[in-house]
């Protein structure tokens, strides 16, 4: 809560005003039956028509006050709710974008999405009712009770019995409803998951003739879901009829008590009995609102906790980039890295030295640690041990921003953002001209694709590049990377979805374009690595060989194994014998 309160601060005065207006509305609504009882007690009994009209006018004035206050609270409330939610969303969003990779991974993508959206929307919705309940219910309850007791204590006693009963019902219902909701959600998810799987795996399922089996699985989930939904709906829908019944029965009780009390208590009037019955009804409504608010408390608490958890993360402050042009030389000296909570080190005692302008490769299988090297170079993580130098300067002496300005990377999982092709490319260089975009695309072998669309560079890419194939995404991300002006270019498994023909064209043009700049090719393919100036072979986090292709074929069994499995025994024809 501590983290979220500051977001409410700008609205403090408005919240207080809001509360005051709610107070007015509630008091007015309580006074209506009171005035009506006067009409009965005085106006009708004495046949005093002017009095009735006066009281009527008074009631009309109250209604007007309620209308004005109601409109005003609505105005204020809609401002608070939408503003608070937007502020909080921005706060959380910016916080998340400032997180370190460790912090980011400690929560995870999908949970961060929920926290920055669903949780805040829930908070926005519920908090709205919360303020209302917080002000209205006590006023209604204590004001109504005071009015009821002032007419007759025995009549008012009905409240004392009724209130706990209503609360008890709501408590019993909400206590049992939570698990049912959880269960229903579980089965809804299961049903949807199975259907999603069936649609995605339709070929496999049909080839194994398992459609009936899958259908039964989905149907079972659907039935379980129905059972849970029915139970929770029945429970929820019981509250209203039950409380209505209780209210009605207590009205009967009040009539009976009223009849007895009227005969013994000279101060009690018939109008009082009628008014009290209406107070009780008003209080009853208030109680229901309160109970629902209380029922939502656990849910609200979870949301608040989850949001606060994100906000309380430290993050890193953005540093400014120094005006340094880094050289292209990369040095790793005895670098080790271990992910938080991981048992084994991802990298141990890595030494690498890539001279400026060289084309280097890191080759290894999945889990060999080759992508981790790329992450360390971009300072996504800091090495647990050892030193990294870029252009001869120790990482420790540079800001993150300076390092990232000096290195351009095409990531293993290319992120395409919703927007035009041009917008996606200009992320690499906001100042790039159209000609430069075209040139980069030609090198990345994606220009034909751009031209194949009428809109050209203004062709809209969908979220996560859903309208692109894997290879197209990779090539766009490569074009983006080379548009950025840097000293070092890292291609992290960037060619894996390209066929050899395309890759070979792309690499040839890339080499011409990036002449003089350092290239680091992270790959699983021997063919992608073999012509590089220097190749590092990684296996289980260690460098098990380094050198040129020819040297490695001779001295590094793991490299040779990779080569042979992918390209066959070396022969003059496949470039093996040199």
């Amino acid at each position: 809560m501590k983290q979220i309160l500051p977001f409410l601060k700008p609205y403090k005065n408005r919240l207080i005003l809001d509360g005051a207006l709610f107070f007015i509305i509630t008091v007015c609504s309580l006074l209506m039956p009171y005035l009506m009882s006067d009409i009965v007690n005085v106006g009708i009994k004495n046949g005093d028509m002017p009095y009735i009209l006066r009281q009527g006018a008074l009631m009309l004035a109250l209604s007007a006050a309620m209308l004005v206050s109601g409109l005003a609270t609505t105005k204020i409330n809609s401002k608070i709710a939408s503003g608070f939610s937007a502020d909080l969303q921005r706060g959380v969003f910016q916080k998340i974008n400032s997180l370190t990779f460790e912090e980011y991974e400690s929560i995870g993508t999908s949970s961060l999405i929920t926290r920055s959206t669903d949780d805040i929307f829930t908070l926005q919705e519920v908090s709205f009712n919360f303020v209302y309940a917080l002000v209205t219910v006590p006023v209604l309850f204590f004001g109504g009770a005071a009015l009821a007791f002032s007419s007759d204590w025995l009549l008012a006693l009905v409240l004392v019995v009724l209130a706990p009963l209503v609360l008890l019902i709501v408590w019993l219902v909400t206590r049992n409803i939570g698990p049912l909701w959880v269960n229903a959600d579980k089965y809804i998810d299961l049903q949807n998951k199975i259907v999603r799987e069936r649609l995605g795996g339709i070929r496999v399922i049909r080839s194994f003739d398992k459609e009936r089996f899958e259908h039964e699985r989905a149907a079972d989930a659907t039935r379980e879901m129905a059972t849970n939904i029915i139970r929770s709906n029945v429970l929820t829908n019981m509250i209203n009829p039950l409380s209505m019944l209780l209210l009605n029965l207590s009205t009967v009780a009040m009539l009976y008590i009223g009849a007895i009390r009227l005969q013994v208590e000279p101060l009690l009037s018939a109008g009082d009995v009628i008014a009290t019955i209406q107070y009780v009804a008003l209080i009853m409504n208030g109680l229901l609102v309160l109970s629902w608010t209380i029922a939502f408390m656990p849910h609200l608490k979870v949301c608040v906790r989850r949001i606060a958890e994100v906000l309380s993360l430290k993050g890193v402050e953005a540093q400014t980039s120094e005006k340094i042009r880094l050289g292209g030389e990369i040095e790793l000296q005895d670098v080790s890295f271990r992910y938080e909570n991981a048992e084994a080190a991802a990298l141990s005692h890595i030494d690498m030295r890539i001279p400026s302008g060289a084309v280097a490769a890191i080759i290894g299988g999945t889990g060999s640690g080759k992508s981790t090297v790329a992450k360390l170079l971009l300072r996504f993580h800091a090495p647990t041990e050892g030193e990294i130098r870029l252009g001869g300067r120790d990482f420790e002496t540079l800001t993150r921003e300076t390092v990232r300005n000096g290195i351009s990377i095409a990531l293993q999982k290319p992120s395409i953002f919703q927007g035009t092709i041009a917008e996606n490319l200009r992320m690499g260089n906001p100042a790039a001209t159209d000609d430069e975009l075209a040139y980069a695309c030609r090198i990345a072998q994606i220009y034909d694709f751009v031209l194949s669309h009428e809109e050209g560079f203004d062709y809209k890419l969908s979220q996560a590049g859903a309208n692109l194939s894997g290879g197209q995404k990779q090539r766009i991300s490569i074009a983006r990377a080379i548009l950025k002006d840097a000293a070092v270019y890292v291609f992290d498994d960037s060619f894996s979805a390209l066929d050899y023909l395309t890759e070979s064209k792309l690499r040839r043009e890339l080499n011409a374009y990036l002449r003089g700049k350092t290239q680091l090719i992270v790959t699983q393919r021997a063919a992608s690595a073999m012509r590089c100036d220097i190749i590092y072979v990684l296996d289980r986090g260690c460098v098990v060989g380094s050198g040129t292709h020819a040297e490695l074929m001779e001295h590094c069994p793991i490299y040779r194994e990779i080569y042979v499995s992918q390209l066959g025994e070396p022969s003059p024809e496949n470039g093996g014998a040199q």
Partner: protein, 605 residues
């Protein structure tokens, strides 16, 4: 002039459209009624129960009014209270309330069970059953989310409407009619206050809320954008860091949240003012009753009890009016949902051929003059001829998008050829039942497909009634046994979307185990080991070779080393077999294949 004409045309067009939607709505409505047949009996029963409930509800204020009047008469005029009579009346009133409560609980209970179990649940199961028989083409061309949303959201919307349909029709209309009659018999002038004022306020309210709906719809769109942006931002976290996109993202986020804020505020405001306005009219009606009632009571034309009853009837009047107006406003929404559901249920199903000729032989496959395209305007495969003898290994190579997977789609009849035919041992695959045809194939695909279940279940998926021993043997052959045994729960480890303890390479090995267990006579390997690491690949190769030795097999692979020993290599480009032959033959030809093959060694010249 021209402008006026075009507006006229537009207007004509829109009336035409409106007419069409009306006809469509009517059709859908009819369909809903037809589909609700199984629950008709229950609906009638519930209608009867709710009629009882309505009667009791209408009786309440009348009884309460008379009781109150007895109290007033005693207090104002000193008329003695006949206590035994008064108590009897109290008990009667209590009984009426009790019965009405029990009836409404019963309606609620029946409707929940009937609608959820017999209607929505059954509808969902029918959709699930429909998916079984949909053409692959439809599934390929429809976003998964769309099918799922029809199955969940749209069915829910339809269910909710049916759920409230009785509230709307039976109790809603009966209550309104009953109250109108009663208040007019008590006092016509005052009745006017109720019957005119309240509907007026509700019309106003619904007009306002309609406008707020528009803002909410806009806001929902902005909120959708917020979700999309956040998802994109967080899943592209590394890119954002690498390219310093924080400021750009912040700008974008600020813009969208600002937009959503404005729309939400308007929506909240318009939705919010409905309440004060409704309560104003309710109050005005209340005051009117008090004043008029007071005047009439003074002149002796009405008693206090009747005034009280009137107040209560006025309160009861608002409820059904509200539910009817909200019911009508959601009707359009419901019809749209129902339309989407029935559209899915009415989709064309796969036709089943008659008779079940089964090919007898070792898997001799022929493509004869096959033409095919996914979309008619873009012919993809033209006059394709392939002849594969039993036990042969056929490799398919070529650039992405060239039509490699299409051949698999046709072979297994996920799609049907436009012209020509495909035969297995002389039998046209079109004459066979799809299930029989597919039972001849084992597939291992690049996109591994595992369902959420245990590792054991996923392997056993390949063979009905496989013994544990067979499953373990398959795992051993796929070289996944060691890995599975290192898992804390071994073969009982659950696989699901989030499971990060299994790499994509290991998933591929599981599908290889599954294919091994299935033991079919024709094998399709589409990039089957693309994610498997090199060392395991060497081990698995032996199993693969063994599998392929005795079977007709189709292999698609990027890594040319895996296909050099194929009996026939089909080089596919732009939907055509451009070359066909053995590795040596094709290299000697020095054509497209040679270009592809050499490109992998020519990466850095």
């Amino acid at each position: 002039m021209k402008n006026a004409e075009s507006t006229k045309k537009d207007r004509a067009k829109s009336t035409e459209e409106r007419r069409e939607t009306r006809i469509k709505s009517k059709k859908t409505l009819k369909r809903i009624l037809q589909e609700a047949k199984p629950i008709r009996g229950w609906l009638l029963l519930t209608a009867f129960v709710s009629m009882v409930s309505v009667a009791m509800v209408l009786l309440g204020p009348e009884l309460l009014g008379t009781q109150t009047n007895i109290l007033y008469d005693y207090w104002a005029n000193g008329t003695a209270i006949d206590m035994p009579y008064f108590i009897r009346r109290c008990l009667l009133l209590g009984g009426v309330y009790l019965l009405s409560g029990v009836c409404s609980l019963a309606t609620m209970f029946i409707m929940n069970n009937v609608v959820s179990r017999l209607f929505t649940c059954e509808l969902r199961i029918r959709i699930s059953d429909k998916i079984r028989r949909l053409a692959v083409k439809f599934v390929d061309g429809t976003p998964k989310g769309e099918v799922i949303s029809r199955m969940t959201n749209d069915v829910s919307v339809l269910g909710n409407t049916i759920h409230t349909i009785l509230d709307l029709t039976v109790s809603g209309v009966l209550k309104l009619a009953g109250i109108t009659i009663i208040v007019f018999t008590i006092q016509p002038v005052m009745a006017l206050a109720v019957v005119i004022l309240l509907p007026l306020s509700l019309t106003l309210a619904s007009l306002i809320s309609q406008r707020s709906q528009k803002h909410f719809a806009d806001a929902r769109k902005s909120i959708g954008d917020i979700y999309a942006l956040n998802e994109e931002d967080f899943s592209g976290f590394a890119t954002i860091k690498a390219y310093h996109l924080e400021a750009r993202q912040k700008r974008e986020h600020d813009r969208i949240t600002e937009e959503a804020k404005g729309r939400l505020e308007k929506g909240f405001y318009l939705a919010g003012i409905v309440q004060p306005i409704v309560s104003l009219t309710n109050n005005v009606a209340y005051i009117a009753i008090c004043i008029l009632g007071g005047a009439l009571a003074i002149s002796g034309k009405m008693n206090v009890g009747e005034v009280v009853a009137f107040v209560l009837y006025a309160k009861l009047f608002a409820g059904p009016l509200e539910s009817i107006s909200s019911g009508l406003s959601t009707m359009q929404h419901t019809l749209a949902s129902a339309g989407r559901i029935y559209d899915l249920l009415d989709r064309e199903e796969l036709e089943l051929p008659e008779g079940r000729p089964l090919p007898q032989g070792g898997g001799h496959i022929r493509f004869e003059h096959v033409d095919f395209s996914y979309v008619p305007e873009k012919p993809l495969i033209r006059d394709l001829n392939i002849d594969v003898r039993p036990g042969q290994k056929v490799a398919i190579v070529g650039p992405t998008g060239g039509g490699k997977t299409t051949i698999v789609n046709l072979l297994m009849r996920f799609y049907d050829v436009n012209a020509g035919r495909i035969t297995i041992d002389g039998v046209d695959t079109k004459a066979m039942e799809r299930a029989d045809l597919r039972a001849m194939f084992s597939m291992v695909l690049q996109d591994t497909w595992l369902f959420s279940g245990t590792i054991y279940e996923n392997i056993a998926y390949g063979k009905e009634g496989a013994t544990r021993q067979e499953v373990l043997e398959a795992a051993r052959r796929a070289h996944i046994d060691h890995f599975v045994e290192t898992l804390p729960e071994g073969y009982d480890t659950l696989i699901n979307e989030e499971s990060t303890n299994i790499s994509s390479g290991q998933k591929q090995l599981l599908t290889i185990a599954r294919a091994y267990l299935a033991n079919r006579s024709i094998l399709i390997l589409d990039e089957a080991t693309s994610n498997v690491d090199t060392r395991t690949e060497i081990l698995i190769q032996q199993t693969m070779d063994e599998l392929m030795r005795t079977r007709t097999s189709f292999v698609i692979a990027h890594r040319l080393s895996t296909i050099v020993n194929a009996d026939t290599i089909l080089v596919v480009n732009e939907g055509r077999i451009v070359e066909q032959g053995t590795h040596t033959e094709l290299l000697a030809k020095n054509g497209f294949y040679a270009e592809i093959y050499n490109s992998q060694y020519a990466l850095l010249n």
